[in-house]
Symmetry: C2
Subunit: 320 residues, 2 copies
């Protein structure tokens, strides 16, 4: 385990990826309390909302109001998601969003068409426009997110070489347009990955581009998320998207009860016990998870929030 | 990952460790259906019940009837738990239990006293009597289980050297009484471990006794179970106790909602995707988990049973 990172960064996505699928529309005031509690616990980056079609995602309809009202804590970045140029425009216009210069691609042709009505090639063809739109707003594009990088319910297993090619192709487009990829997020959007696949794909990426900062966006759909995160850390991944309480599960028929994002506090527990710094107060984060559970109105799948932290044992002599 | 085992054995403990804490007394007939479904899925070893005080554990009061009625499948071992000489006597007398010559110790002085009303030293002092009782029944003693090997809610972190000393002391007692330790089970009884601790303790044990067959008994109390199992496999662990659906959670106040044993089908999923043979039909096991969920009458925490297996993609061209 000697190649584990000394510290990792948690990017809390519960207020966005977590809440967007919840049946109860969480009022802006409760979202603000949730976001504050998460920041208070020491999380330095929070995806607070998304600028998407409010008809498609009613839970995110208050994005403008939310960002207007966040009382920003120093040192904390309050990020957002956008999926099309109009969303990016709204985020820029809002003026309170901590902007990222990010592009996204999906490794599954079936899923990208279903999700965006565009092919992979068409998505690449639009990248120069995205870069231009970012540049106009003074935002440097340096980041790529690859969705469904491990497998897709609509297509099956994703060949690793395809992911490598997608990254390569994005890099070339960025190079051609005066920017440079330094940050790569691999998303196991539908929870297909296991530790072996994490090590294999992340290993290939690192071997080819050793200087990229790597993030994993993991879903616990099949119970592998913490194991996958550990495998990722062993391969040098230093950033993780995660949701307090494991928010993001599917309450709807068809996938009812399916788990959500990797649970932030369960992964912070892993890190704390393994000597990997996160800068997060685990007990405070558990309180934020409990608050979130109260707001969504049903039990969340997070384990540490029920099993308890080990804080009271930390100061005692028993630690070997 | 080159040191992963080619195959691992799952020991299903749902009918015993899983059900014992459930508020609804599952009738013998339902237990039999559950046990049959698990064996049908390809599990070769099942802890079907325990011979303990029926007043203390009413859920296990039917142990004799249960073992009498199991229609044993060839090649499947139907094991039991006992905690004192009287329990062992009952298991032997039953005549249908596949007996193990096993001793147990607990690594926490606080917990062993609470649980058995004896100290660690007193437990060691009784081992010769246990060995004699086993021998009288023609059972070879070769196995040790160490409970609370990683941490204890009543005592704190367990020093690794203490666990090594407990194993060493048991070996000497076995040697002195004409038997030999070949099988060691380390139990993370209260879900304290993380992958780092698994690798460290299992590594120490393997380094000292490379020929021991190692089993992990993991609880998912703090969300680490699958990650811990993977860490264990990376250190050469080849057997796991596990519960279908993740049975064994705590429905009672105080620890309400705390997770149970590692979920069998979630770990079988890990193995299947990583090319580690278990001999288990995952889809059939998911059906056994759903049956168990129906019998206990509340949702179980297993993830694959809700997120779905990937079987339908296995035969397709997509696999890289």
């Amino acid at each position: 385990m000697s190649d584990l990172p000394k510290s990792v960064k948690m990017i809390e996505v519960g207020p966005r990826d977590g809440l967007q699928i919840e049946p109860r529309i969480v009022p802006t005031g409760e979202k603000l309390r949730m976001i504050d509690a998460i920041a208070e616990a020491g999380v330095k980056e929070i995806e607070a909302g998304s600028f998407v079609n409010p008809k498609a995602v009613p839970q995110m309809a208050d994005a403008d109001e939310l960002f207007d009202k966040i009382e920003k804590k120093p040192g904390v970045r309050y990020r957002a998601l956008w999926l099309n140029p109009k969303g990016l425009e709204r985020a820029i216009e809002n003026g309170h969003v901590d902007m990222d210069g990010k592009l996204t691609i999906t490794a599954s042709e079936a899923f990208i068409k279903r999700n965006t009505n565009r092919s992979i090639d068409e998505t690449f063809a639009q990248m120069p426009d995205w870069i231009a739109q970012y540049r106009e707003a003074g935002i440097v594009v340096n980041s790529l997110g690859v969705m469904a990088a491990f497998g897709c319910n609509f297509e099956g297993y994703i060949p690793e070489d395809r992911v490598v090619r997608l990254v390569d192709r994005t890099m070339k487009i960025m190079d051609d347009h005066g920017c440079r990829l330094t940050y790569l997020s691999l998303a196991d959007t539908m929870g297909w990955g296991t530790p072996g696949q994490m090590k294999s794909l992340v290993g290939k990426i690192r071997h080819k581009w050793p200087d990229l900062t790597l993030k994993l966006h993991l879903h616990d759909t099949r119970g592998q998320a913490v194991a996958n995160a550990v495998a990722g850390m062993e391969m040098g991944v230093t950033e993780f998207d995660a949701s307090v309480g494991g928010l993001g599960g599917c309450p709807f028929a068809g996938h009812k009860g399916a788990a959500g994002n990797i649970c932030t506090e369960d992964l912070v527990f892993t890190c704390a016990e393994m000597g990997i710094e996160t800068g997060i107060d685990l007990d405070a984060l558990v309180e934020a998870a409990k608050l979130s559970e109260e707001f969504v109105g049903h039990p969340l799948p997070g384990k540490v929030m029920k099993g308890g932290t080990l804080t009271r044992f930390k100061s005692e002599a028993g630690r070997a």
